[in-house]
């Protein structure tokens, strides 16, 4: 995700900016399994986002297919529990694959507008 802000993938050129609050977000990316400790904060973050909002699951852990799926405190993938509309596979996905996932999220936002 951090690489997207660097000069190689510079997703600001494609119209994406990372915002400081879910209130300003059209797209929310989630990574990792949904830990018990994060469940409340994750749900509150999604609830606080502007509508329409597209959730993107980034990585195998988020899609529920990572190495910690089923661990005692890990539950399922964050993207599974938060009903992600777009999934990006990989452990971790390449920056190019994440950028493609963001583009897909933007396309879906356009459809729902």
């Amino acid at each position: 995700m951090n690489a997207l802000a660097g000069p190689d993938y510079d997703t600001t050129n494609a119209g994406f900016s990372i915002v400081a609050s879910p209130r300003h977000a059209d797209v929310i990316t989630v990574t990792g399994p949904m830990t018990l400790a994060m469940r409340g904060a994750a749900a509150a973050t999604i609830a606080a986002a502007a509508r329409p909002c597209v959730v993107v699951a980034v990585g195998d852990c988020a899609t529920g297919e990572g190495p910690w799926s089923g661990a005692p405190l890990a539950g399922s993938g964050a993207g599974v529990e938060l009903a992600a509309a777009v999934t990006v596979r990989g452990c971790p996905p390449t920056p190019a694959a994440i950028a493609a996932g963001l583009a897909e999220a933007a396309r879906r936002l356009g459809e729902s507008a």
């Binding site: 995700m1 951090n2 690489a3 802000a5 660097g6 000069p7 190689d8 990372i18 915002v19 400081a20 609050s21 879910p22 990792g32 399994p33 830990t35 018990l36 400790a37 994060m38 409340g40 904060a41 994750a42 973050t45 990572g66 190495p67 910690w68 089923g70 661990a71 005692p72 405190l73 890990a74 452990c91 971790p92 390449t94 920056p95």
Partner: protein, 466 residues
């Protein structure tokens, strides 16, 4: 690295034994097994392990030795060890009852600001509760464990060799160091010695990991100081490092680059290209570091920010570049050499100021030293690719191994049973060691400097959470 010198004492004698050990050793970890507690130290003469039976109540050491504060809370919460006179009754981990309360300052004019666990940036989750008087931080409370998956319990019972890919994925940013500790532990139980070419290959992987992490840390420190060029340029260099990692070991983040018995199949097939690529990156990274260190306004932001005093660093058992920027010299690679580090001795840098500027200078020097090690290891390989990994069949037993990762000592303690399955594994990461000291280094700083100070350590959350 020799196996630890093990001493067993009665629970009542533990405080005196630990106090003696700390005169000439640094604390590395304390951890619990089904029957014992262990306090592990590193010194010039190797590792020292002081064990005591855990059926007694253990006198808590955290009150006098804060280095063990998190370890003892972990032993109590995750393993049910009973401590007497523990200085902090709060759970370390978020449980069914929700987040533990934060420690805050109280008094007239004190304002408490809470940020997290979801942050205004791309970082892992944590809750930071900042007690302030005006803009000045009086106390910072860090609540981690939001990414706690229960990895140790999940790994227990699995075939130890087959579990290696999961161990590599406990945390991305220190994956190689942890895999190396794990491989060495299993190889010692199996009586297998890693071959020479693979030992050089392991150094290439470990130092490439240090290179991409330190480049990231420099970029993040620049970001914390509002120096956009420094951030962007650093991220560009880091991306080149990831491309080199992918070409050399088949993975951008070097997952499974080191496996039990050797290195990844097919690793360093084109060692010459890796050597040429790292040489080009080295020149550009050196120019980048010089730009960062030579920018007066950036240095003014770095200087005096987030001072970690040498005595605080020592008392908290801080490891890695964070310690070496506060007067320390301990580096596992130099002090307790493993693999080919006995031959390819790394240069160890030490600074005394303990501020953001010192941590950035230490990392810039370590970056250059890491490039040097990659070059020497690849020269020693002389274009010969490492062989496929040897077969490793660990016999029943216990092992402790420590590897110098980008953030310091990465400790693994594990036990294997007669079927080759993991009985237990304890992950004590450099980040777990260092987090309590990061919190202390913020005291007296201004609130807006928290990102700068935090990123000058740039610790992980996932391996600290477990």
């Amino acid at each position: 690295m020799r196996p630890p010198v093990a001493t067993r004492v009665g629970a009542a004698a533990l405080p005196a034994a630990v106090a003696v050990a700390l005169r000439e050793h640094d604390p590395l970890a304390a951890y619990a097994t089904a029957t014992d507690v262990h306090y592990l130290f590193a010194g010039a003469d190797g590792l020292l392990d002081i064990g005591a039976a855990r059926d007694d109540v253990i006198p808590a050491l955290a009150g006098t030795h804060p280095a063990f504060a998190w370890d003892e809370r972990e032993m109590r919460d995750a393993h049910g060890v009973r401590f007497a006179n523990a200085p902090d009754d709060r759970p370390l981990f978020i449980g069914a009852a929700g987040e533990p309360p934060a420690l805050t300052a109280e008094g007239e004019g004190v304002t408490v600001v809470v940020v997290g666990p979801v942050h205004a940036g791309i970082i892992e989750p944590g809750r930071f509760t900042i007690s302030t008087g005006g803009e000045t931080v009086i106390h910072l409370d860090a609540q981690l464990s939001y990414s706690r998956r229960g990895v140790e319990a999940f790994l227990a019972g699995r075939n130890a060799v087959a579990a290696a890919p999961r161990v590599a994925r406990i945390c991305a940013a220190c994956s190689v160091a942890r895999s190396w500790s794990y491989a060495r532990a299993l190889e010692s139980l199996a009586g297998v010695a890693c071959d020479g070419a693979s030992e050089y290959g392991r150094i290439v992987a470990a130092e490439l990991e240090r290179i991409y992490n330190h480049l990231f840390d420099l970029a993040q420190a620049a970001a914390g100081a509002g120096y956009g060029y420094g951030q962007t340029h650093g991220l560009g260099l880091k991306e080149r490092a990831h491309a080199l990692c992918a070409a050399a070991f088949g993975h951008r983040l070097l997952f499974d680059a080191i496996v039990p018995g050797g290195v990844a199949v097919g690793a360093l097939r084109d060692a010459r290209a890796t050597r040429e690529g790292t040489a080009r990156l080295r020149a550009d990274a050196a120019a980048y570091a010089a730009t960062l260190l030579g920018n007066i306004s950036v240095q003014r932001r770095f200087e005096g920010a987030g001072v970690l005093l040498a005595e605080t660093a020592r008392a908290f058992g801080v490891v890695g570049p964070g310690r070496r920027a506060s007067g320390g010299t301990f580096d596992v690679r130099a002090a307790l050499p493993y693999g080919a580090y006995a031959e390819l001795v790394p240069a160890v840098t030490s600074e005394s100021a303990g501020d953001v500027a010192a941590r950035v200078r230490v990392k810039a020097a370590e970056l250059e030293a890491a490039f040097d090690l990659v070059d020497r290891a690849l020269a020693a390989l002389d274009a010969a690719a490492p062989p496929p990994p040897q077969r490793v069949e660990p016999a029943a037993g216990a092992a402790v191994r420590v590897t110098e990762g980008p953030r310091g000592a990465e400790t693994l303690a594990l036990g294997v049973d007669a079927t080759g399955a993991l009985e237990r594994i304890t992950v004590r990461s450099a980040s777990f060691r260092n987090w309590p000291a990061v919190v202390r280094s913020m005291e007296g700083n201004i609130v807006p400097d928290f990102p700068l100070v935090n990123k000058s350590f740039n610790l992980c959350y996932a391996c600290a959470d477990g």
